[in-house]
């Protein structure tokens, strides 16, 4: 089920919350589990299979690891759990990608499985993996309540794209959670804002990007190529951050506290800064469970670098089975490393605006890798963006589309930079009663306006 659909917003959500709030105490987990299964089954019921297998495997493995803690068997069990998870992920998510790569490289004719990438498989696999590793490391006891564990694995808010939540951060709330009005109202606001980001901005930006793609990359003017990058940058940011907002909001309405996932990444003044603001939960997970495992403390520089590059390659692959995603990860890693080695020191002497331009330039090029499926297309596109395509600076198409999507470009820039939060805090810090009243009014009204606009657009665009 998609967050930005009529079925989810107008049918699933009201029905779910009515049942959830009516359910007493611990039965809330039952409602949440059943709701999550319905959410997940809507669209691809067959994809429930890997989720159930992964949940059962890690639940049992964790119990056994705890039983044999301190013995060699525990390590074997951990390896077995991880191997099983990776096999599931490989088979259901990435098998066709690797088969296609092998066929391309070696001229083999291996037949592709043709199984659709199950929604959320990359999220719940990382969640269950972190759970079993945490049990192995002794950070948490193995859960003995299958209902609580299944609720954690299947929990629908963060399934589409995160944020990835560790079991240890939720286990308390899974057992006993208290909800208060402030938390619910905060959650409801986040849901409204998230839906507006997705439906009003991300979808429109996606449409602009699609329209730009109608022009062959080699025939674009410089301005059109950059407009395309901007459109894609807005599409990807507002989709991911919008969905994260909805997930965090839903969690809050249910009494959970999910970690923040995006912190105005387009305001970053270096690539390091950008990566620390983009999909923070995923980066944190990769750092803790992959990077630190491959290059533990006091590892040599070479090992650290290899681990680092691998981590970013995997982060790229997490977004989907495509080599251009991996290349995007490598591209970001390259500048991250450069900043750690020498570039960071140079950047310190530059004015803030130049640092921002540098960071956005690197990110923009990274997005071209992310947006296109073919490396050759990426190269052609970049050539156009840097004036080596037609060489034309402007064309009619750029001017037409800029006029067509002018409000989107303004709103996109406005909401992707921390302008709103700064304005609100300025108003709030104002000493006169008027500004305080204005802030309160805006805070009360803007979520409702966001929701109303998002719903109107949602039901209106189908025609």
């Amino acid at each position: 089920m998609e967050f930005g659909s009529v079925v989810f917003i107008l049918r699933f959500l009201p029905a779910f919350f009515i049942l959830y709030y009516l359910a007493p105490g611990r039965t809330k987990n039952v409602v949440l589990l059943l709701g999550s299964l319905c959410f997940y089954a809507w669209g691809e019921p067959i994809c429930l299979l890997p989720m159930v297998l992964s949940a059962c495997s890690d639940f049992i493995h964790a119990l056994l690891i705890e039983k044999y803690r301190g013995k060699g068997t525990a390590k074997i069990l951990l390896s077995s759990a991880l191997f099983f998870d990776m096999c599931l992920l490989f088979f259901f998510g990435y098998a066709d990608f690797f088969i296609e790569t092998a066929n391309g490289l070696f001229g083999t004719r291996l037949i592709q499985i043709g199984f659709p990438l199950p929604v959320g498989i990359t999220v719940y696999t990382l969640q269950t993996t972190s759970y079993v590793i945490d049990v192995y490391r002794g950070k948490i006891p193995a859960g003995r309540n299958l209902l609580e564990y299944a609720t954690y694995v299947t929990m629908f808010p963060q399934l589409p794209i995160g944020p990835i939540v560790r079991y240890r951060d939720l286990s308390g709330a899974l057992k006993n959670r208290k909800m208060n009005l402030h938390q619910i109202s905060g959650g409801a606001k986040r849901i409204c804002v998230g839906l507006a980001k997705k439906i009003l901005i991300a979808d429109a930006a996606g449409k602009l990007w699609s329209e730009i793609q109608l022009t062959a990359p080699g025939e674009m003017s410089i301005a059109l190529a950059w407009l395309g990058i901007l459109a894609f940058a807005f599409q990807i940011y507002f989709t991911f951050s919008g969905y994260s907002d909805v997930a965090i909001g839903l969690g809050a309405c249910m009494g959970f506290s999910f970690p923040e996932n995006f912190d105005h990444p387009y305001a970053a003044r270096s690539v390091t800064d950008f990566l620390s603001r983009w999909n923070m939960a995923l980066t944190g997970w990769m750092k803790e469970y992959f990077y630190q495992a491959v290059a533990p403390e006091k590892s040599g520089a070479i090992r650290n670098t290899i681990a680092f590059v691998l981590t970013w390659g995997l982060i790229g692959l997490w977004y989907g089975p495509d080599w251009t995603f991996v290349l995007c990860g490598f591209w970001m890693a390259l500048f991250y490393l450069a900043e750690r080695l020498f570039l960071g020191k140079v950047l310190r002497f530059l004015p803030s605006i130049l640092r921002w331009i540098y960071a956005m330039l690197v990110v923009a090029i990274g997005w071209v890798f992310f947006a296109l499926e073919d490396v050759a297309d990426v190269m052609i596109y970049l050539r156009s963006a840097f004036g080596m395509g037609t060489g034309a600076i402007l064309d009619r198409r750029f001017l037409f589309l800029t006029l067509e999507y002018f409000p989107l470009l303004v709103f996109g820039a406005f909401f992707s930079l921390p302008v709103v939060s700064r304005l609100l805090s300025k108003l709030e810090n104002g000493r006169n009663g008027m500004s305080i009243a204005a802030t309160r009014f805006l805070e009360k009204v803007y979520p409702a306006v966001c929701l109303l606009l998002a719903l109107t657009y949602l039901v209106g665009r189908g025609w």
Binding site: M1, V6, H182, L403, K444, L451
Partner: protein, 373 residues
């Protein structure tokens, strides 16, 4: 206390909005409200084990749930209206131009050089093999260029038509661009459809006559035109889902009430040029001689022996009633719908008294070769 009030207010207002929409949706779905705004609501997707397992059912249901939302078209108009206020001009491949004129968008469409060359070769072949005349009709986005939204993409029809004249020679080429430009302030095209009007066809007829070698033209009196409807709403408006006040559609008095039979694709024969049943159809331009047929054989009252073979689109339908008195039989072949080989068809009709004419909108004609590419 104040914070609690604020929280309650936020939750309340969000819940009210959400539940209002949810109730509207549910009541309609439950059949308690019967007004999706459509004459034929979309059918509920069919549930089968296969469609359930492969996810097709859910995909279709998601689309259905949006389409069947209570007063769907009104919501759509609201969204469109807001977007227009915000400066958007292109919807569903249609451009909303000045003076409420709609144009087919050429965004991202690029007529390749091969298509242009092939189309010119085709015309030259028709001229050489059949002595065919070429009368390509410049479309509204050429003549009414000033009505196009700023910086909208367009195909340079003037340049293309110059190439056509060069290839087929002036004696086989009926120039329309200048004629239509001279009358550009008149309603020579439908604002809401990609075709010319009877008025433009009237000007076109005299331009054709001058090149036809016929002794006299038939006299058509514009003052005696017959108003068919003043609520003509073309397919562009329906595609965009906007409201439009409609426009006038008229025919020339002299073309009505003729003893004419039209046989479509060797199957159905109907009398007369005009088809009122199309006025409420998706494309009301079908009023002129019908729509979506491959070949129409039009037999007129004329006692002459000569025949005319027209390769044309709906623009040709508008003009044929004016040309008909010059011929006993007119074959109209529409390449958009004709399933067989056009060249074979033309060869079959070849005879001493048979004339050939290409009578088609420029864009539609060139796009025939784009598809081939």
């Amino acid at each position: 206390m104040e914070d609690k009030k604020n929280d309650l207010f936020t939750i309340g207002i969000i819940a009210v909005i959400l539940l209002t929409f949810a109730v509207m949706d549910l009541l309609f779905q439950a059949g308690l409200i019967h007004s999706a705004g459509t004459k034929t609501p979309d059918p509920l997707p069919v549930f089968t084990a296969r469609s359930f397992l492969n996810g097709k059912y859910f995909e279709d249901y998601d689309a259905y749930s949006v389409k069947s939302f209570y007063k769907g078209p009104q919501w759509s108009k609201l969204v469109r209206g807001t977007e227009i206020i915000l400066g958007k001009r292109e919807f569903e491949g249609i451009l909303l131009g000045r003076k409420n004129t709609y144009f087919e968008s050429r965004s991202g469409k690029k007529t390749g050089e091969t298509a242009i060359a092939e189309s010119l070769d085709f015309l030259e072949k028709l001229k050489t093999d059949y002595d065919a005349k070429v009368m390509l009709i410049p479309t509204a986005d050429e003549v009414w260029k000033d009505r196009l939204p700023a910086y909208a993409a367009y195909f340079d029809q003037e340049e293309y038509l110059d190439s056509v004249m060069e290839r087929v020679g002036e004696d086989h080429y009926v120039a329309l661009l200048q004629t239509l430009n001279e009358h550009k302030s008149e309603e020579i095209y439908y604002r809401t459809a990609p075709y010319w009007t009877s008025l433009a066809a009237y000007y076109g007829y005299y331009a054709w006559w001058e090149k036809s070698g016929k002794l006299f033209p038939y006299y058509y009196d514009l003052d005696r035109k017959i108003l068919v409807t003043n609520h003509f709403v073309g397919p562009f408006v329906k595609r965009v889902g906007m409201e439009d006040r409609g426009e006038e559609m008229f025919i020339l008095k002299e073309t009505e009430g003729k003893q004419v039979t039209v046989c479509y694709d060797d199957r159905v024969t109907i009398e007369g040029y005009y088809r009122p049943e199309y006025l409420d159809a998706q494309n009301p331009c079908g009023y002129y001689l019908g729509d979506e047929f491959g070949v129409a054989k039009i037999q007129t009252e004329s006692q002459r022996k000569n025949e005319l073979v027209v390769i044309g689109d709906l623009n040709a339908n508008v003009m044929i009633p004016l040309m008909a008195p010059h011929y006993s039989t007119i074959w109209l072949i529409n390449p958009n719908y004709y399933q067989g080989d056009v060249m074979e068809f033309l060869a079959e009709q070849k005879g001493e008294d048979t004339e050939y004419l290409v009578l088609q909108g420029v864009l539609d004609f060139v796009e025939l070769f784009d598809v081939k590419e």
